[in-house]
Amino acid sequence: MRIRVQMFAIARQHAGADSVELEVPAGATVGELRESLFRRLPELGALGTRVLFAVDGEYAGDASPLRSDCEVACIPPVSGG
């Protein structure tokens, strides 16, 4: 299935775009999406597990399953405030 991942801050900078589209197996998890995204963007991968993911507006661990209609976002370490 095709997942569009919204990219912010340094992740957007490395992607050169506001979002990237990735092809992952049906029923893939956030962890699998992470691996696929880090293969595509090794500079982002250098941040490792400090990069989090949100699914439908909530932080989601690597074991969380994805559906093709999820809203997925890549969340590099936040620095608001």
Binding site: F8, G57, G61, D62, V78, G80, G81
Partner: protein, 152 residues
Amino acid sequence: MIELTREPIDTTALLQRIQSPAAGAVLLFLGTVREFTAGRQTARLEYEAYETMARSKMAELADAAVERWNLVGCAIVHRLGTLELGEASVAVAVSSAHRAASFAAGQWLIDTLKDVVPVWKREIWSDGSTEWVHPEKCPTGAPPPSLPESRA
């Protein structure tokens, strides 16, 4: 009152929103753009957010603080876009019957906001170079719980 704004934060309006005869204490915290960090000079900052999630996380934090400390009022505003030196990037305002609750809630809200709300800042240094700020946190890779202390 939860808000993301590209305009300067109106602290007077914010205080009016949370003041009440039910409150004996009001606390306002502002994060402001500091000129020097470890000897390096900042020219300005740029903030961006995952806006829908940032709003919902800010609302969750406010709800949790109101419940935990029995607050009378709670408002959080985060500014986005380009900020000049001295301007406020974030405002947390709370009111409560007694002052201990306002201090505790205010501190928890700003600490937790900095951990979980998806907002990012980019330093524009005075030498023209730029840098996304990514604090060294969450080394375990576990997603931060939405409400680290209040519902753990």
